[in-house]
Each structure stands twice: as C-alpha cells, then as structure tokens.
Symmetry: C2
Subunit: 548 residues, 2 copies
C-alpha cells in the first residue's frame, strides 16, 4: 500500500507516524511545501517574544529523525500542485529545483491546513506586512525585528494568534495596537466575558482599536500606515495580519472534492472525502460541532492530531470515527488565562437555542490558603433540558483545569445540574471543598428548582426605575460607597431581616451584591418573607468589569 | 420546624446554611463540641508550618457571623451526649458551664465527623503525643512548638495528614521521621506509584521507617521514645499520631442507629439513617463507593459538604440523592502533587475485578514551551469492558487537572478507550495537542485492538532469562549505559529495522525504553516483522523509580 500525504505537520505527521505503527510495510510519502515538518505552530508566537529561545524547539521532528524512526520520506520544499483522483496520482513540484513530477497513491491524505486570511485590500503584499503560519513566516518576522528594531506594531485581528503576538511583542518592549472590525477580541467568548480580556491587554499597555475597518496599508517613513475606514490612519513600524484562517483547499477544489464552509473539505465521520481513497483532516476540513450538530470550522491542534490518527486507523483496515469538535481552547493573555469549551451564549442564541447562563466568581483554591485568585465562570445551558452547551472562564491559576472538567462534562452529555455531583479532588492548594464547577452546578440546580431567579447584565439598563420595582444592593455600606448602579438602595445582607420594612411589599426586588453570593442569600431571605426577588448574575464585580 | 445539628463544620455548617436558604422560618440549632465552627480542617497542617499565618484564616465563619447572616444559633463548647429518638430529644452538655439540658428536634442531623484513630498502646495520652483534628488540637501543637522548640518529631502514620504534617514540620526545620506498619505511604496509591512519594519525602530529608509497628510511647529526656516491635525505639522531641480516622459515632450507636464499617452510620441515598427524622452526613457515615458499588468509608471534605446540602434539601421537602463517593483526592507533598480518583489496582484486584493498567509519563504541557515537567499517570481499567476504575498521578503542575478530568470521566461512566476522544483545551503553556489523558486513551485503544501487549513491573523478575525469550532495551547506547535491567540487550529503536537479524525469531520479545513510547514503536516494528512483542508498561524511568 502506498500512502501519499499532503502537508507534514499536525494531522499529516501524526497520520504518517500512526500508519507506520500499524503497517510496517506501507510506503508512505509526505509532501510538505515549507522547509519544516512536525512544527509547533502553536509555539511560533512565543519564539517571537523569546520565550522559546532555540529555533530547534519549534520542530518536534526533522525529516531525518522522522525517517530514521519511521522510514517515512518527508519531502520538504515539495508542493503538491494537483490531484488526479481518476489515475490516483498527484502532481508535485520540487520548490528547490523547480522539477515537477507525478506521484501515484493508493490512499491520499489531505492535511494542508489553513492559511492566514488575507483581505483583498491594497498593501497586503508589503514587505512590512506579515502573516504567521509557518516556521519561515516566523523567522521572517523575527529577522525583521532583529534587523530593524521596530518600535511599534499594529496587529490586524484580535483572535488567538493576534493576542499571543501582542503579548510577545510587548515582551520585546514594542508599542502594540490591535485593530479590528469586531468590537470585541476573541470571538469564542461572549462580549461580556471578553471585557476581562480587554482589561488585561490594556493593563499591559496594548492599545485596542475595536470597531475599525482596515482598508489598506501604505509604506511611509520606513513604516506602514494602516488605513482605516472613517478614521485617520495608524502608523507603525510593522504590521501583522491575524484576522483568521481559511482552509487551504484549492487543490481539493480543483480535484472536484465536495467543499463546505469557506471552501473546507467535506468529510464523513471516518474522515473520508467525497472521492474514494482520499481522506482529509485538520484545519482544512469541515467538522460537525459536537454541541450543535451543525457544520463548523474549528481550527485546533488537538482535533487535527486526532483526525490524523483516525485516518491512519481507517486506511489500515480499522473503523475509527471522529465524533465532532467542541472548540475547547485556552489562551494565556499576559497574566490572565482565558478558556472556552462548547458554544457561547451569542452563538447558542444564533442557533435558536433557548439558553440561560450562570456567572460566578469563585477562587481557584481555598481562600484561606495563600495565593488564591478569583476566576470568572460563565456557564451556558439550555433552558428546560439543562443541557450543558458551553462554558467560558477567565482568571489565573486553575482556569484550564475547570474548562477541561467542563469539556469532559459536555463530551459525556452531563446536564448542567449534574455538575453539583462531580467529585473533584480537593486539598487547599488546589481547590475548594465546593469546587468552582460544583458551585456552578449548585446554582443551576437552584434555577431548576425555582430557587434562584436571575436578572442579567443586558437587563440592567431596562430595570423599571419608576418605583414599580425595588432595586437593592446588599453589600456593605463601604462597598456601596465605592461604586454602585444608579437607582439602587443599599441594605447589607446581614441587616436585611431587620430592615425588611424598608422594602415595599408586592413589588419585585432586583438584588445585587459583589459576586452574587450575598445577593443570592438576600433573595432567599426575601422569598422566605413573601417577596418576589431576582438575583443579579455575576454581581457588581462582573457589572463593573464589563461596563467600565 | 426545628432542626438540631450535631457538629458545626463541613457537613453540619453547610446543612445549616442551606436549610436557612430554603426555609426562612426553620429554627436551627447547631451544637459544636469544640470552640470553633466552620473551620478549615484541611488547612490545619499549614498553620503549623506557618504557610497559613493568621489563625483567623482557619475559620470560615464565627458563631457571630453565622448568626448575623443565617440567624442560626451556633452553640460552641456544647457537646451532645445522647439522642432519644423516641421523644425526639438530644441531651446536651455546656462544656463551659457544665450545665446539662435537653433540646427537642423535629429533624436531627448528625455530622460529628471522625476522630483521629488512637491505637490501644501505652503512652497514647502523653503530653508530647499529639493528634490533629480540631483547631484546638492545632493550637496545642503550635504552642508546644513555639514554647519548647522541639528539634525532632516522629509522625506515626503516613497518610494525607501525616504527609502534610511532615512537610510543614520540615518547613520549620525539624527532623522528621514517619513510622508506620504498612510498607508504603498513602494507601490510596498502589505501591509502585507510592514510590514516587517516598522518593520525594526522602529527598526533602524525611526519614521513613516503613514496616515498623509502634508498640507504645514513653517519656524520656524531655522527649518521647517511640517503642517499635522488633526494633530499637525511635526518640523524638514530639510525636503526632496520624494513623487514620474513625467515625465518631458513639452517640449514634447508643441511640440504636444502624451502624456499618468501623461503626459508621448507615444511611440511604437521601442520607437518612435507620431511624426516622435522623439524618447523617460526612466522615461519620458509610457511603456507596461510586466505582465498586460496595460500602465504603471515604473521609473527604467535598463529599461531606455535598451530603450536608442534600440533607438540607430533603429536610425542606426536596428529594436529593447522594450518588456515592469515588475517593478523588489530591495532596501536595513538598514540590510534588499526588492525586487519585476511583480505585487503585490493589483494591480493584481485591474486589475481584479483572483489571489492566497503563502507565505513562507525559509532560504537563508542550515540551517546547519552557518549564514543562513530567508526570506519571497510572490508569486502572477493567479488562474486556474497558470500564474506567481509577487513576493515580504523581508529578508537578497539571496533576490536579488531569485527575479531575479522569474523575469526571469516571463519574460519567466513560470507558478508558473513550479518553482518546476527549477534546481538552490546548495551548503550549497548559497542555499538549495530545493531552496526557488523550494519550492514556490512545494506549488503552491500542490494547483493546490488540496492538499493544504489555508486560508489567511485577513480571520483571519473572521474565524468562534462559534464552527462551528476547529481552530488548531500545534506548540509546548512552541511556543503556547509565542503567538497565540485567539480562537486556540494547538495540536503539532507530536501528532496530537494520538489526532485526540480531533478534531471534519465534521467541517472544520483551521490550523496554525510557518512558514506554520508543519501546511501543519498537513493538510495532517487531510485530510488523512477524515477532510477538510486549511493551514494558511505564518504561525504565518507572522501573527505576520503583525499584531503586
Ligand atoms: C501561530 C499559531 C498559533 C496556534 N496556536 C494554537 C493553540 O494554542 N492551540 C491550538 O489548538 N491550535 C493552535 N493553532 C492551530 C493549530 O496549529 C492548527 O489547528 C493545526 O496545526 C492544524 O493542523 P493541520 O495538520 O491541519 O495543518 P498545519 O499544521 O497547518 O499543517 C499543514 C501543512 O501543510 C502544508 N501544505 C499546505 N498545502 C500544501 C501543498 N499543496 N503541498 C505540500 N504541503 C502543503 C503547509 O505548508 C503546512 O505546513 C495555532 C496556529 C498558529 C498558526
Ligand atoms: C488535618 C486534616 C486535613 C484534612 N485535609 C483534607 C483535604 O485536604 N481534603 C479533603 O477532602 N479532606 C481533608 N480532610 C478531611 C475533611 O476535613 C473531613 O472529611 C471533613 O471535615 C468531614 O466533615 P464532617 O462535617 O463530617 O466532620 P468535621 O468537619 O470533622 O466536623 C465534625 C464536628 O463535629 C463536632 N462534634 C463531634 N461530636 C460532637 C458532639 N457529640 N457534640 C457536638 N459536636 C460534636 C466535632 O467537634 C467537629 O468539629 C482533612 C482533615 C483533617 C483533620
Ligand atoms: C511529532 C509527531 C509526528 C508525533 O506523532 P505521534 O508519533 O503520533 O505522536 P507521539 O510522539 O505523541 O506518540 C503518540 C503515540 O505514542 C503512544 N504512547 C505514548 N506514550 C506511550 C507509552 N508510555 N507507552 C506506550 N505507548 C505510548 C500513543 O499511544 C501514541 O501511539 P498511537 O497513535 O499509535 O496510539 C506529531 O505529533 C507532530 O508532528 N506534532 C507536531 C505538529 C503539531 O501537532 N502541531 C500543532 C500543535 S503545536
Ligand atoms: C462556611 C460554610 C458554612 C458555608 O456554607 P454555604 O453557605 O453552604 O457555602 P458557600 O458560602 O460556599 O455558598 C454556597 C452557596 O452559594 C451559592 N452561590 C455561590 N456563588 C453564587 C453566585 N455567584 N450567585 C448565586 N449563588 C451563588 C451556591 O449555589 C450555594 O448555595 P446553595 O447551597 O443554596 O445552592 C461551610 O462551607 C463551612 O462551614 N465550611 C468550612 C468547613 C469545611 O468545609 N471544612 C472542610 C474543608 S477545609
């Protein structure tokens, strides 16, 4: 059996290695356009900032090491230029010699990944306008920085790569501006949760120009002018474009493979394309979203690796299936960690789901053990069914842990109410006896039993301020004095029972405190005294972070 | 409704607070024998070492704060001395005044916890022989240390509390010896995994006297002689007994409640005891083991808190159930983190389960990102069904995360083979594209498909050394030279294909490398060439840690 693989990194190299492990006799040829295989795309931004120092650390394997371990020919600087499914051949160009040749296959794997999206605007090809996908791209940026010592950079795009670059360029002391059309960074997060990310990058001196459309780039004064729609240009010594990625599938298209969203390759659960004996994996393919069941593009290394492994199984006579992607991801944003799994509220609503959320701010570990820090968790679930749809967390230590706990919960089909039952490992340096995830579960449990009725951020401005409702802040007088929402009256929770007389009967009471815990207790006191009371989801802490 | 609660800490205080949230009118009285409520048992060892500095940090609530928030009477220094289920009354003794009185109840909650097991040997009552359960116990130890500046301590017992104390006493510069009858510390771990803990505590200067039976204590030279069976006594300036805990259930026994293991209180899923209107929770009760379904004692704060909350629900008209405990726990042992969930191999075998294991040593995050450290994971699953039974992990960062991921997997009933499908959040500072848990899943997947046949540590000594089998070490010549198992021949994996001639045909090949990965690849090469080959589970790294 002869297997040809297009692209020798996450999905491709994994498939190659696994095929060898399953079939010692297969002939395996991998064509890789760039000069490197098995490279750590995800590490590239950290090489720019000097966090990863040795360029050799960026590649997990070389063609030589791969050959000596797996007897697989890793043909770097070889671009596959066409596929002929009829004759089962690919056309290949040796980019070093210019030589073109054909290579036959019994099975073909397409793992060409995705390329950096390049808007069709003037100046995209300029020398000082970079993108980052390959090791070479990275070296180009690194060399430009060493040689010209740019003092400022504009990053067009504030997603994962843009933010990692922002951090690494700040690390080098550069002035960094992120500009993009969307009004929030990091679209996997709801805009409220993204606020925490905005605050963190601003705190680290990154300037945010959100809601601005880049219309082009122009060289000026040994730098670049970034032309904006309806605003004056930004100037910087260099620009990096990181506005997202597009499946790199012109080959597949030309060969007549069925394509999906943004030209991605359509595959079935076995990762087979529409054409027999051609498989595809990684950033180039369309997947089923694990939560919504709809078609999606999810460009992540974990899924790419898993899919590559599944293809290897199936090529070698197995029957492995990919179950879909749920978009579990995490990013370090300066001191902050931000992580997400499943779908956010915005997308859940777009998908027509009837959703509810809880927002809480537990500490990563027991408060009495030194070093604990608060994280903010937003859990999205379906009303009525309590199906867990997604979670977003921003904080410091322990964020990645809780997102993974929630990722597994989603994968396993647990309901949000079941999170209360999880038995997670607790000792003071690691967690609390009521782990943050359990706590979220308690809250949903209370909602499901009608014991916690909430009001949410988007209702804050709409609350009746005509006296038809009571607006109550149950923090201490000092906390209240430091800042509160207009129109709220202050009764500390511990005084509430004595001061019930101050709260008008037969009017709904909207309650807030700092985190949501004391106001929840107040709500329970009020309801126990015959009031109808609603708890503000997230507390003033959350309100303040998002609004101010 | 009047609720009386015996014990005002984890289960008791949680039940009290929750009852108030569910019922503003209930009368709730909590009797607590010690002088403190809502204290952080789990933090006590860290107060000894000065990690937690302020004694106020040891209590999450005071009777005053609890009253002002919940209108619950927290009667400290009050011991409940008897229960009369017939008249629904408890007898109470005010330990400060000596006054005795009766208190009636509609519902009674027993959350008296467990006391430190005290062996019936001479000298247990000595002034310098301590135990640690309450805040007072802790102050006693702390004061003794401040006053007498002891230079050495013997800890009888090397479980969670013993180890935390060992670390904290070393922190103070004391010479610490742990003595116990079992030949391994930390019984939730299999002895192989416990070796890593032994190495760590020894590396930090703790002396281990394992396999020694303590027969008594004698005061000598302003210190204590710890008398050992068949060995000369140990001498130290102080002794702390931490040989385990026993449910504190003499009250329940006297009242005729049904008792289980070690006198624990038998409860149903609703946490009801055998006597109506009496509930029990926490360290005092017998639970169903979530994995085995058998009766068990699992003394952990998470379960205690959850059970307290469930009782509150049921007392207030709800119908909440406790699903069982799975023993998820974690401990900081100096620089190491050790964590466990479910059952270990030893206990699985004792329970008659037909088990298999995988052992792997992945890094906590991408190797190319600075600071990554290796952890050791042992996964226990049932043969044939691949039911996940338990996991143990020792390592540094990220151990608590993986144990929680596995805890949820067990809770959700995932099979070990399904771990490969989990989509966990990956970025270089947090994980790898193939997360350690996925990696364990790949290995089990391979076992399930006959692609990975293993040999285990206990077989190492039994391997045929008469030439009927080939013993092969596939590390590099340098690694091999640094240490290997007697009788093994060395062929580095990358040379294996060329040197197959050196490996006799028709003989089983037992392969080892450093971590298990290269030997797995060697196994695949061998099997692809017609050999029957077995991979050593855990690699030489594991062998060396356990054996040397
Ligand atoms: C800067 C950066 C940071 C990232 N950080 C993270 C992260 O933290 N976490 C995460 O989960 N994911 C991250 N990703 C995404 C992750 O790297 C990708 O999801 C993953 O690499 C996709 O794997 P793949 O095999 O599909 O494609 P790739 O890894 O991109 O490999 C495709 C290869 O195919 C080659 N190729 C394309 N066309 C041809 C052709 N015609 N002939 C020959 N070769 C061809 C390309 O040169 C490329 O090397 C990051 C990506 C980048 C660029
Ligand atoms: C030093 C130490 C460290 C620990 N570390 C951890 C850890 O890291 N992680 C973890 O999960 N668990 C840990 N635990 C275990 C955890 O603290 C217990 O599982 C949990 O506290 C049990 O809760 P409980 O409510 O059943 O009992 P407790 O919290 O022990 O409370 C019982 C209370 O009842 C009182 N009482 C008993 N009898 C009477 C009576 N007749 N009248 C009045 N009052 C009475 C006692 O004085 C006691 O205060 C640790 C325990 C200790 C002692
Ligand atoms: C380097 C690369 C080729 C390695 O691929 P690989 O050999 O499949 O992966 P690993 O080296 O992690 O090894 C995994 C294999 O070892 C096995 N394994 C791991 N530890 C083991 C152990 N202790 N004992 C036995 N087997 C073990 C696993 O089961 C798996 O084998 P399988 O797929 O046959 O089941 C590939 O991961 C790669 O190119 N990575 C870089 C590109 C990339 O992912 N970029 C994006 C992220 S930055
Ligand atoms: C202090 C103590 C009495 C608090 O008990 P508690 O009030 O039940 O617990 P918490 O303060 O953590 O609050 C949890 C409650 O707040 C709710 N909550 C938490 N955050 C919330 C938010 N942001 N919005 C709304 N509700 C929230 C939870 O749903 C839960 O309420 P519920 O049980 O009614 O569902 C109890 O935990 C205790 O005594 N602990 C110390 C003893 C101990 O556990 N020792 C062993 C470990 S060291």
């Amino acid at each position: 059996m002869k297997v040809v693989i297009v692209g020798g990194v996450a999905a491709g190299a994994t498939a190659a290695a696994r095929i060898r492990r399953l079939d010692e006799n297969a002939e395996i040829v991998v064509f890789e356009r760039s000069g490197y295989i098995s490279y750590a795309n995800c590490g590239l931004p950290y090489y720019i900032g000097g966090v990863i120092e040795d360029p050799e650390d960026l590649t997990l394997q070389t063609p030589e090491s791969f050959y000596s371990r797996f007897r697989i020919k890793m043909k770097i600087h070889h671009e596959v230029t066409a596929i002929d499914p009829g004759s089962k051949k690919v056309s290949v160009k040796n980019l070093e010699t210019g030589e073109a040749f054909e290579e036959s296959y019994d099975k073909l794997i397409l793992s060409p990944g995705a390329r950096a999206a390049q808007p069709e605007i003037p100046g995209v090809g300029l020398e000082r306008v970079f993108t980052m996908r390959t090791v070479e791209d990275t070296f180009r940026i690194k060399e430009y920085i060493s040689q010209y010592r740019p003092k400022s950079a504009v990053l067009a795009g504030g997603g994962f790569i843009g933010l990692e670059l922002a951090e690494n360029l700040r690390e080098l002391g550069m002035k960094v501006t992120i500009v993009q059309r969307p009004r929030q960074l990091m679209s996997p997060f709801d805009s409220d949760m993204a606020s925490f990310i905005h605050n963190e990058v601003r705190r680290h001196g990154v300037e945010l120009k959100l809601g601005y459309t880049v219309e082009g780039f122009e060289e000026r004064d040994s730098g670049v002018d970034v032309l904006l729609k309806d605003s004056k240009p930004l100037h910087a010594d260099m620009v990096i474009l990181a506005i997202g990625v597009v499946p790199d599938t012109h080959l597949a298209k030309a060969a007549g493979l069925e394509l999906g969203i943004k030209g991605s390759i359509v595959v079935n659960e076995r990762m087979e394309t529409s054409v027999s004996d051609i498989y595809a994996a990684g950033d180039a393919v369309q997947v089923k979203h694990y939560v919504t069941g709809t078609d999606a593009l999810i460009s992540l290394a974990g899924p790419a690796n898993k899919q590559g492994r599944i293809i290897a199984d199936n090529i070698c006579g197995g029957d492995s299936c990919y179950l879909g992607s749920q978009g579990s991801s995490v990013i370090k944003v300066f001191d902050l960690t931000a992580a997400v799994t499943g779908i956010n509220e915005t997308n859940a609503k777009k998908a027509g789901l009837d959703t509810d959320t809880v927002i809480l701010s537990p500490m990563n570990h027991a408060g009495y053990y030194p070093g604990g820090k608060v994280m903010t968790i937003k859990l999205v679930f379906e009303k009525e069914t309590y199906r867990l749809l997604g979670a977003q967390i921003v904080g410091y230590e322990g964020v990645d842990k809780r997102i993974d706990v929630l990722a597994v919960s989603i994968h396993a089909g647990l309901k949000a109410t079941q999170l209360k039952d999880l038995e997670l490992a607790y000792a003071p340096p690691y967690s609390s006896a009521k782990d943050p995830v359990n706590m979220a579960g308690f809250m949903v449990d209370n909602i499901s039993k009608g014991r916690l009725k909430q009001w949410h951020l988007e209702e804050a401005a709409l609350l009746p301020r005509d006296g038809s409702a009571v607006l109550l802040d149950t923090r201490t007088a000092e906390e209240f004095a430091r800042g509160h929402i207009d129109g709220f009256q202050n009764i500390p929770v511990d005084e509430l029972r004595e001061r019930l007389g101050e709260i008008e009967r037969d009017k709904p009471v909207y309650v807030i405190c700092q985190s949501g815990l004391r106001s929840y207790i107040a709500v329970r006191i009020l309801e126990g005294n015959g009031y109808e009371a609603y708890n503000f989801s997230g507390g003033f802490r959350f309100y303040d972070a998002v609004m101010n």
